[in-house]
Symmetry: C2
Subunit: 456 residues, 2 copies
């Protein structure tokens, strides 16, 4: 058997400990599949003494994790520190500069600095791999970059955050409201003490930006995403959606659009990226994705709709993706007789050929939407809302008014009332205009919530 692949592991949280456990448990099988053993040489983390359930005494310890990249006895640096900048980024840059392959699970770092890192990796002729950065244990980066490589991707979208999906599907099952379910999820360890990154959609946006780049050959463009999370979704919205034949899921979605010049556009290919709760039809596979599961759909012009589903987080699944990257590198070394592992362009095509696509305007998009208002219970409110819709050119498919279920047992008659409507297919700009007309209306107790309906 060939020389082992020697790795330095930075970051020993649950994922880091999972990688150690996996490499130990499945060592023989991995060596058979990779054509060589994969050996941890050195480890590093903030705290050396902490009990992690794995024995790290057998590995060299580096106090300065960013210096591990310089070790002569290491082929690959595995970065599991996290954070878009700071030590993770320093380590990543050092690793590439030292000619080491880099494997990372760090979605924030790739979303912010992936283009720079990929450029450096390509110039150095070494591998940069990040399967674990998107959708945990699901091999969706590989699925898009290689499995669907023959296709023009028409659209890529999915459930990319397990915490949000757990909360939404628990709200569905129990009829409880967001805050209570979140608190319980935090108590059970399914949500972070500071859950903002997850529930406000930032984590989903990081992953979406990475997927979009690979799917469309565009330079990663995280900044314009402006994610909308799930904080404002009410139990009543979920019940309403259910009665209409939908489930609510936080989706990240990306596609490209080109507005021809004869339609007022500039003929350039633009990138549309959105993170937003959506209404998903019950017969769509994503409607049946429950709990912390993740799922990604890629629509290819020849493959049709491909679905990849599995555990989106957790030490085991994430470690599975990290080690899959290591096995790819080990196999590739076996073939190329190289020593940095040359596994091709990180974003499928070389960075120099990635297109800088300007963001697409949401307003050009045509689709159906669910719009929910919380309104004062008084005459004329419905007329005000429907007039605004008419004046903005929004065609209403159905409208339901319901008293808002109060949390108290005997709610007074002054409780605000929910008005939910579903629009016909139409340009999103019309909805924006309708909401502008209603802006400042004293009839509305809070800003309306718009959720797009996932279309074919």
């Amino acid at each position: 058997m060939a020389e082992p692949l020697r790795i330095a592991l930075a970051g020993l949280g649950t994922v880091g400990a999972g990688v150690i456990r996996l490499l130990e448990t499945n060592a023989a099988l991995i060596a058979r599949r990779a054509g060589r053993r994969i050996e941890i040489v050195a480890v590093s983390a903030r705290e050396r003494g902490k009990d992690r359930g794995v024995d790290i005494a057998r590995y060299a310890w580096d106090d300065d994790m960013t210096a591990m990249a310089a070790r002569a006895d290491v082929d690959v640096v595995v970065e599991l520190v996290g954070g878009s900048d700071g030590p993770a980024l320093t380590l990543a840059r050092n690793a590439i500069r030292s000619g080491k392959a880099l494997v990372t699970a760090n979605k924030a770092m790739i979303a912010h600095h992936g283009v720079e890192l990929a450029e450096a990796a390509e110039a150095a002729g070494i591998a940069l791999k990040f399967e674990a950065a998107v959708a945990g244990g699901i091999p969706v980066i590989k699925g898009l970059r290689e499995g669907a490589a023959a296709n023009a991707i028409l659209r890529v979208y999915g459930i990319l955050n397990g915490t949000c999906n757990y909360i939404l599907s628990t709200m569905e099952d129990t009829g409880r409201d967001f805050a209570g379910v979140l608190a319980e999820a935090q108590a059970k360890g399914f949500a972070e003490a500071d859950p903002a990154f997850d529930i406000d959609g930032v984590d989903t946006a990081h992953k979406l930006a990475i997927l979009a780049s690979i799917a469309f050959g565009s330079r990663i463009d995280f900044a314009p995403i402006a994610p909308v999370g799930i904080r404002r979704v009410l139990a009543a919205d979920i019940a309403q959606a259910d009665s209409l034949g939908y489930r609510i899921r936080l989706l990240g979605m990306a596609e490209t659009e080109t507005m021809p010049e004869n339609k007022g556009g500039d003929g350039r290919c633009r990138l549309f990226q959105r993170v937003h709760p959506h209404l998903v039809p019950l017969d769509h596979p994503l409607a049946n994705v429950d709990g912390a599961t993740n799922a990604v759909v890629a629509e290819g012009n020849f493959s049709g709709r491909l679905l990849f589903q599995g555990a989106g987080a957790g030490d085991g699944p994430t470690a599975s993706a990290v080690v899959a990257d290591l096995i790819d590198i080990a196999r590739d070394m076996a073939r190329a007789n190289g020593n940095g592992g040359k596994v091709g362009a990180p974003f499928s095509i070389p960075v120099a050929e990635l297109e800088a696509m300007p963001p697409a305007e949401a307003g050009n998009r045509v689709g159906r939407a669910y719009i929910r208002f919380v309104v004062a219970d008084r005459p004329g409110v419905l007329a005000e809302i429907t007039a605004a819709m008419r004046d903005a050119g929004v065609s209403i498919e159905s409208l339901i008014q319901k008293g808002r279920p109060s949390s108290g047992a005997d709610a007074g008659s002054n409780d605000p009332v929910l008005v939910a409507l579903v629009t016909h297919d139409g340009p999103e700009a019309c909805i924006t205009e309708a909401l502008r007309l209603l802006d400042g209306s004293t009839s509305l107790a809070e800003p309306p919530l718009v959720m797009h309906i996932l279309g074919e």
Copy 2:
């Protein structure tokens, strides 16, 4: 850009024409992703003049497809002829012997001769790839061989035949019986004129044998599978399953088992492979896979349950998988500067290391089952059945007796009656024994139908 990858294409049926269409439509994008153009150099098929909706005049024509392997201007032979033996096999052997990489969609050939071909390909140092042989456009070979490579696979199973799934889900939707739905599927072109390969489970067994080899590192062993197809599934079974909370799906399933010596076994790792209609719980993702869609589940010891879903057949999806293999080879050539494309062991580990696993006995398995009897409507039949179950040690969870819906409007009282029962968890050997006790009973109008219930 590097030299193009030059291919010879044998077989110009719907898939072959699809590959030509794909390579033409997505040429620029494929060149960007593969790092080189992929060019068809020569084509061959049984009939030259046939209209295929694509222009083949620009490619060299070889009357003798098996001779295409000898062309000096070709890097890869793409075999889309079909059939486990005959010209397809001759071409495959010739290609490898001539040092050409081989890409094929031929599940029957790989199931029967995959070990021989992989051995030859490994010895020649060339690529043998067959993503399109299993589950059409879904990159499940790659998903198992690479995406899940870090895991010991505990079980792999799935819906691998679109025709069967189309028939079962149409029976579900319409309440109609098998024969009528099959006839309609044939009329619509969703089922072959001779549908035996599909509906008797042979096609599923071919695919399962390939998946099992990659999942478990075992030598392909198609012979012992003895598939059971869907011919005997009644509309009444589907209705019964539905009322119990299940859908009926034809599954291919494989796992390994080791019977320890202290339990009467020989301590050897054995391969269990089964193709059989199963009852799938409604909350399992496979229960919601409808129409001609395929889906494969792989359970890894770290990844947990991974699901890959998409179009299992059709020219576009199958061409997508064929060309994904070509792109892998093209990328690999770019890196290795080789010229046959060296993309590693076809079955994930080298053939010499694949284990020859003896088949496992189904009887050792423990699970729940649905057993349906068609019985004469007379006193004592239920007692006879339940006594046999008791004597064989089969514990009954529920039992339902229903008059069999006759096809005539006014059915006489002599119509046979359906008795369906669901067992508790127990060894399959007990069910076999119970059915042996009932064998030859004049109370049974036809042999009982056993369908296993998909367990966790």
